[in-house]
Amino acid sequence: MLVARNGRSDSLTLEGRVLAPAQGIDDSLRITITDGVISSLEPAAAGSLTIAPAFVDPHVHLRTPGREDEETIRSGTEAAAAGGYCAILAMPNTEPVVDSASVLCALVERAREEAVVPTGFMAAISKGQHGDELTEMAELAAVGAAAFTDDGRPVVSAGLMRRALRYSAVTDLRLALHCEEPSLSRDGHAHEGAVAAALGIGPYPSTAESVMVERDLSLAESEGRSIHLMHLSARESVAALDHTLASGAPATGEVTPHHLVLTDEAVRSLDTNTKMNPPLRSPDDRDALRDALRRGAISCIATDHAPHARQEKDVPFEEAPFGVTGLETAFSALHTHLVVPGILTFETLLERMSAGPARAFGLVEPRIEVGARANLVALDLDAEWTVTEGGFRSLSANSWLLGETLRGRVVKTVADGRLVLAQDGRE
């Protein structure tokens, strides 16, 4: 279930190159939206804008409840609108954890007041995310949970994971998994390799992720359940996912913009905005992730938008929390670093940011057709803009792109029939 604040649907027209890879559309069109619904598609002269199905982010930390100084539902969904998203899924690792119907209902109510962009809330797999007891999954599903995850933490016990896989079948929701074997990642702050060795940073080896990916894929396969693997970082994990997909078993995976663009070389700066969990890995890992995204083995781009207060990142590297923001920069960063240099096609990028994640979580795919609710993003691919601390709608500015000039910009977002972003792309 996705929730947004109540309000009227909009009527407007958008004109330009319309590109919907999942539907095979690539044409110059005028899209008329009447009361939030696409009412006509007519041929038009080629304009400067590219219009595509809006984006879906399956991995966002809205920090609400508990850390509203870092992000609120309002600020986080405004950031999503600025990034071209028409739907986002929020993580339950808040204070308190979203592990009961009462916490979830309160969030849903708040989202009806504040959410600019339709938002789904995931609920925890285990009570308090302690990894001991299952949450009341049926009740959580009944009041609108979007999926189950203990994100931020792994489900350490294989026994509990197996039970979660079996029991969650009483709902039609999926498990989204943060794969990390804590006995291998303990005291780890950067990828195990030459950079961590040179800097003396505690190593976080690839196997800390991949042995858990292998375990969970194996358990899911044996239980006949499908799982979603979050923020994949290691080539060994990609190989495990490939193996499962080749056997015909269902599983989906996501990758973040920062794991697609950066490597652990970035950590040499000791900039705390290069510290994330899982960590930035080697060029070989990055290339395996790019390849899996191209092939579709990894079908989703997820930002893992993780706002942190400035004082928490203004500390030495090892003391800083993991995570970076991403909603407002994902498209531009990937367009600049992957599409412009020819590493990824524009069509693939659009598909993996929209239809891919929607399908993985059983959400309605944003489509461009007469009669569909309007979920559209208008892009100015030639616009250049510089990422600055003051330029974010998010309450936090812990971006790995600060100071960078990016090419391509989201100028309009229509989410569930409402115009939620309209800016001059050449400002």
């Binding site: 005291d187 030459a194 190593p203 590297f317």
Partner: protein, 326 residues
């Protein structure tokens, strides 16, 4: 035509050996040598840094490094102030950033930082106008230790180029090892790291050294550099027991060949990584290292403050200014 104004050169710091070039290392060692000569006199004080302020900011326990920086600054006639985290506002939860800003308000010329976290001196350097010297940050770097070790080797063996150095023990937790490998690489010496596989991090060879798990490897070395087994940094048991470590890697008289010198950054665990008979032998340069520490740290302070103040090349490649001797 408007007067041509050159921008002020960026502040020089000593944060990591990785920031230095060979010429920087050699200049500091040569300066240390001149200072040692001048200290062989009855009045052991030079006026070089009179009116300058050196602040020592120590977030980790230290005896020799703190003492040596304090004395080095005093021998150069600087005003010194030492702050330890215990008993300061750090105890009250003040962040490193605020402590650095507070101290900077006194306009010190140099801030010497020791901190348990990697990159803490870099953070201070971003916040202050003072020159920052890294006196050890987590497992990352301890550049003045590496410089004083090079100085000690050069004094004892007469050269650095072509030396073979075996660094033995707990490399994983050692900022000394990381700095030393890089510094030895700069001056044309070769390093092999010797230790149990669980205490040698994967990927360390990229620093420009070899790795061996076999203690016999040290036979080829001119210098056997023994690392301290860092119990205090070990949350996990990286080796089954200290007894087994000592059996496999302890530096005993039987393992030291004639003509080799043995070094240790201190404090030593006698009977663990180094046999007391070796520690007390002629081959051991441990007290020479402590003496070198004083002159090398004087040279570092001099190099940053006195050389830096005459508008030298920001990378510190200008020829050393001759020392003013009282």
């Amino acid at each position: 035509m408007a007067e041509l104004r050159l921008p002020a050169p960026p502040r020089r710091h000593l944060l990591s050996i990785a920031d230095l070039e060979r010429a920087d290392v050699e200049r500091v060692l040569d300066t240390a040598q001149s200072l040692a000569a001048s200290l062989d006199r009855e009045v052991k004080k030079l006026p070089t840094l009179r009116g300058r302020t050196v602040v020592n900011l120590f977030y980790e326990s230290s005896t020799r490094t703190l003492a040596s920086f304090e004395l080095a600054a005093k021998r150069l006639s600087a005003d010194t102030m030492s702050l330890r985290s215990a008993g300061s506002s750090v105890d009250k939860g003040e962040s490193l950033k605020d402590t650095a800003l507070t101290l900077s308000a006194y306009e010190p010329d140099v801030i010497v930082v020791r901190h348990p976290s990697i990159g803490a001196p870099q953070l201070v350097a971003q916040l202050t106008d003072a020159h920052v010297v890294n006196a050890g940050d987590g497992k990352h770097q301890h550049p003045t230790q590496a410089l004083l070790d090079l100085y000690t080797m050069r004094e004892a063996l007469g050269r650095l180029q072509g030396l073979q150095v075996a660094v033995v023990g707990d490399v994983l937790h050692s900022r000394v090892a990381r700095s030393l490998v890089q510094a030895l690489g700069l001056v044309g010496a070769r390093t092999v790291l010797v230790g149990p596989p669980t205490l040698v991090p994967r990927g360390i060879e990229a620093l420009g050294c070899e790795v061996s798990y076999d203690i016999e490897t040290i036979a080829d070395a001119d210098v056997v550099y023994v690392l301290r087994m860092q119990h205090e940094r070990m949350a996990d048991a990286f080796v089954p027991s200290l007894r087994e470590y000592t059996t496999l890697y302890g530096i005993t008289p039987e393992r030291v060949r004639d003509g080799q010198v043995v070094m240790h950054p201190g404090p030593m665990n006698r009977g663990v990584e180094i046999d007391p008979r070796v520690a007390d032998s002629e081959a051991a340069l441990v007290t020479d290292q402590v003496r070198s520490g004083l002159v090398v740290r004087m040279a570092v302070l001099y190099d940053l403050v006195a050389v830096g103040s005459v508008g030298s090349d920001p990378r510190g490649l200008s020829p050393a200014v001759s020392l003013e001797v009282a």
